[in-house]
């Protein structure tokens, strides 16, 4: 299975270049990384690691989100959207083109419910587990994030929507290897096979077959009256 870090912020947002991220990701056991914000148009494969170009949107309402998706100057491999309240999340999960819903731990305790879980499963939108909330936070904010991740895990086990795991790293120092991620996700009860499936979900989303497939041979057939 191809493992992927679902969101890193390279230079100029962070202090590490895309290539350096790819190099570190290779040593940490990843096959691909998703670069959000200001990746300077760099995408492709470096040191054997596939770099996906992402559009990270932080809009607060649905109309602004759709406008921002249309205005995008480059063609992203995947679109990441920051979570908001429950209404916004439900609408976002039904919007075509959205790949990952990020930052659910910052959106409040009622931001993700069973309706969101069903919609995420129907539209194959991944819900992201951001490890920077565990690594960089202390005390109450970290406790809330852990609680939120445990809730997402319960919904995932019930509805079966994809879950992605990201380091949210703006520096290579904040990246964690596959084994380290297994260890960190164990804190909120995620098992090893679930972690590895979650790390492979980004490639599955990006390389998923289109919903409507046009078959050329069918066009030539004469439809009987």
């Amino acid at each position: 299975m191809a493992y992927s870090d679902a969101c890193v912020f390279p230079y100029p947002s962070g202090d590490t270049s895309v290539r350096r991220f790819a190099l570190e990701a290779k040593y940490m056991g990843f096959d691909s990384i998703v670069c959000a914000d200001g990746n300077g148009g760099v995408s492709g494969e470096f040191y054997g690691v596939r770099v996906y170009r992402a559009l990270h949107l932080r809009q607060k309402n649905q109309n602004d989100l759709v406008k921002a998706m249309r205005k995008c100057r480059f063609k992203p491999d995947i679109i990441l959207v920051s979570a908001g309240d429950a209404t916004f999340n439900r609408a976002t999960l039904s919007t075509g083109g959205v790949g990952i819903l990020r930052g659910i731990h910052d959106a409040g305790s009622r931001a993700f419910d069973d309706v969101c879980g069903i919609k995420a499963a129907e539209n194959s939108v991944a819900v992201d587990i951001d490890l920077s909330a565990i690594i960089c936070r202390r005390g109450n904010p970290r406790q809330k994030a852990l609680e939120s991740f445990a809730e997402i895990l319960k919904f995932q086990r019930k509805f079966g929507f994809p879950v992605s795991i990201s380091s949210g790293a703006s520096s290579y120092i904040h990246m964690r290897s596959v084994e380290e991620i297994v260890s960190l996700c164990g804190i909120f009860g995620m098992e090893e096979n679930e972690v590895k499936a979650a790390l492979g979900s980004v490639d599955a989303i990006i390389n998923s077959p289109p919903i409507i497939e046009v078959i050329d041979e069918a066009i030539d057939e004469v439809i009987p009256e």
Partner: protein, 160 residues
């Protein structure tokens, strides 16, 4: 208090960690406080007491941390949440676990002499360029508040 006889003493385990980035320049005391803070923050005082953690060795980019046998997993998980030591961004990457320090010493590579430093101008600022390996290049620039560090590769430097 009279010390416990050897047969009653708890078995210990030693975990080797690599410190990133390269020039963190940390001592054992700073590492001890950082790891102890991470453990007590994640597992509480009871967990910290159960682990009975101690930094036993700190050489270059490597450190050896001791804990009670059976709690290595807890120590590693807590150490993974260390992201800042003494105000600088750092991380501890677990390398190996053993029952003896000697076994871990064999896993520590010999320190190599630093490669020659050069200067480069990037986006109008002057940086000291330090080659870490064949591919990795770190750029050190002095900022107003503290030193700015950029992590690039040799290919990036050729593009500049």
């Amino acid at each position: 208090m009279k010390p416990l006889p050897p047969t009653l003493r708890q078995k210990k385990r030693y975990v080797l960690f690599r410190i990133v980035p390269h020039e963190a320049g940390l001592d054992g005391k700073q590492l001890y406080y950082a790891v102890y803070d991470a453990i007590s923050s994640l597992y509480g005082d009871f967990g910290a007491a159960e682990l009975s953690m101690a930094v036993v060795l700190c050489e270059g980019n490597y450190t050896v941390v001791r804990c009670r046998r059976g709690s290595e997993g807890m120590l590693v998980t807590a150490a993974l949440t260390v992201n800042r030591i003494n105000g600088t961004f750092c991380a501890l990457r677990p390398v190996a676990t053993s029952g003896t320090i000697a076994a871990l010493r064999r896993r520590m590579p010999e320190s190599r002499p630093p490669l020659p430093e050069r200067q480069a101008v990037f986006s109008g600022k002057e940086y000291a360029v330090r080659q870490r390996s064949q591919e990795k290049v770190d750029l050190y620039g002095d900022g107003i508040k503290n030193q700015e560090i950029l992590y690039f590769t040799q290919d990036d430097m050729e593009d500049i």
